[in-house]
């Protein structure tokens, strides 16, 4: 990328600067890496409340009589789980069963879906849906440039929403409600990328600063803090969530990424199904496997060894503020390593003892059986 190329800015750019965000280039977007510090932000989300600008995320609307058919055809998960007012986390698969993207498809009505896609893949996803839907009665619209998005995350966030959006408190995990906020049509969903309970508000640019400031006000009694990409990464990795482009891409399948629960082989045909069915029967040669270590901080790209032999490299890795040790995930072979198995990770040319861990590394309030529904 040339130095003169201008970075894309979200509608919250000035607000991020006002709150002291340290801005960086994130895949062509100017976003804050941190505000008060990654550890403080991470802990605020785990223990109380934090707020993130996630306006770089994309919104693709799929509408029409064949909207369900198109999404069912292009996704590994079963869209029948997404009844009106609900969403489903899914993998959009290519013919090789690699991932076009990982997404959340929200069913707004039987013939109307909102698909939240990754920033770097929004155009690719839009074109993929358009191509696959050529012969269907369906309209695919990439509205990513029309919407901003904030994620408000943490165990105390539902209490903040008692005034702001009481109907959102009744939502199950992955539920969504359409709501007028500051005179504009918005979406509030019980979703996030941190492993804690909370909401994401998708809104037109013109009111997003108002939404942010309202959240800061409602969150004040809970010590809400603005959070950056740094905390977003440590929170999501502890929770075992995938980062598209780093943990998964067009060349890795859902089974390989250890997200087999996403695959619904019995829903009928979908793109890449035959390959996934074969992998289900035969197993996979490599699997995204978790590990922990105490003698250093592992980073993406670090080599992993077992019995002195290299068995893979780390896709994502960092220091875990919750576990207070290094954590990472990488595609390792053999694919059937058991938690506790002894490994080594090469850090700065030195081999540090590590062990296989189950993923998620930490289960926050988003994983709870029951969610807060109001006082």
């Amino acid at each position: 990328m040339s130095a003169t190329q201008t970075l894309r800015r979200t509608a919250l750019n000035e607000t991020m600067r006002k709150y002291g965000g340290k801005m960086v280039d994130f895949h062509g977007w100017e976003l804050p890496i941190q505000f008060s510090g990654i550890l403080k932000e991470h802990e605020a989300v785990r223990n109380s409340a934090g707020i993130f600008d996630v306006s770089h995320m994309g919104q693709v609307f799929v509408t029409g009589a064949d909207a369900f058919k198109l999404l069912q055809q292009t996704n590994a998960n079963d869209l029948r789980k997404a009844t009106p007012g609900k969403g489903v986390y899914s993998h959009v698969t290519n013919e090789k069963a690699g991932l076009v993207d990982d997404i959340i498809a929200f069913c707004l009505a039987a013939d109307r879906y909102l698909v939240i896609v990754n920033a770097t893949t929004s155009t690719k996803d839009y074109e993929w849906f358009k191509t696959q839907g050529t012969k269907m009665h369906v309209k695919v619209e990439n509205r990513s440039d029309d919407y901003s998005m904030v994620a408000v995350q943490g165990p105390n966030v539902p209490k903040m929403f008692e005034q702001f959006a009481p109907e959102a408190l009744k939502l199950p995990r992955f539920g969504i409600v359409e709501k007028e906020i500051f005179g504009e049509h918005c979406f509030v969903s019980r979703t996030g990328y941190t492993g804690e309970d909370g909401f994401e508000v998708t809104a037109p640019h013109k009111i997003i600063v108002q939404v942010w400031e309202k959240m800061m006000e409602l969150g004040k009694p809970y010590g809400i803090v603005p959070c950056g990409l740094g905390a977003r990464d440590t929170l999501r990795l502890e929770s075992g969530y995938l980062l598209y482009g780093q943990d998964v891409d067009d060349e890795h399948t859902t089974y390989e990424s250890n997200y087999g629960w996403v695959v619904s082989l019995d829903k009928g045909d979908f793109i890449g199904r035959n390959i996934l069915a074969a992998q289900k029967t035969d197993g996979v040669k490599r699997r995204l496997t978790g590990l922990t270590l105490s003698g250093g901080v592992p980073r993406p790209g670090c080599k992993v060894f077992m019995d002195g032999r290299e068995i893979g490299t780390l896709a994502s890795a960092t220091y875990s503020p919750t576990l207070k040790k290094g954590i990472g995930v990488g595609y390792l072979t053999p694919a059937d390593l058991k938690p506790g198995a002894a490994l080594e990770v090469e850090i700065h040319g030195r081999r540090v003892p590590a062990e296989v861990s189950k993923v998620p590394f930490h289960r926050g309030t988003a994983f709870a059986k029951t969610l807060y529904t109001g006082a």
């Binding site: 890496i33 941190q34 510090g37 990654i38 550890l39 403080k40 740094g230 440590t234 250093g296 901080v297 980073r299 960092t318 220091y319 503020p321 290094g326 700065h348």
Partner: protein, 129 residues
């Protein structure tokens, strides 16, 4: 304990405080701020011979790793065990509780080539984006 104005600085952001031929080495206030929360430190073993301008320790924050370069030729005579257990000391007080190691200088005059506080300040300004 030294003040920021009393120590010498390297272009790689270490500080050095020399007393006779024994130097104490740490990470500058500027560097700790840039790195953010420090979560891991790997220090050299006492007795190790250090070469001037060669990496001899590693300081890691949540986001990045940072090599520490020896400001002098010499031998490690002490390390700060406290920062190994609590690396946040480097953020909290980089010139006091957060010192990294002490080196017995082969030739203390080598320190004369390092920057003083004012020169380091100018160096940071020149290198700011």
């Amino acid at each position: 304990m030294p003040k920021a104005e009393e120590v010498k600085y390297t272009k790689t952001h270490e500080w050095l405080h020399l007393a006779g031929n024994e130097g104490t080495v740490g990470l500058s206030e500027h560097a700790q701020k840039e790195m953010g929360d420090i979560v891991f430190v790997e220090l050299p073993k006492p007795g190790r011979k250090l070469e001037k301008d060669k990496p001899c320790a590693v300081v890691e924050s949540v986001k990045s790793a940072f090599d520490i370069y020896s400001p002098l030729n010499g031998e490690v005579v002490a390390v700060n065990e406290a920062v190994s257990g609590d690396p946040a000391l480097i953020n909290q007080s980089p010139l006091e509780g957060g010192w990294l190691f002490k080196v017995k200088a082969d030739n203390p005059a080598e320190a004369g080539a390092l920057m003083d506080f004012a020169a380091y300040g100018d160096f940071l300004k020149q290198n700011a984006h």
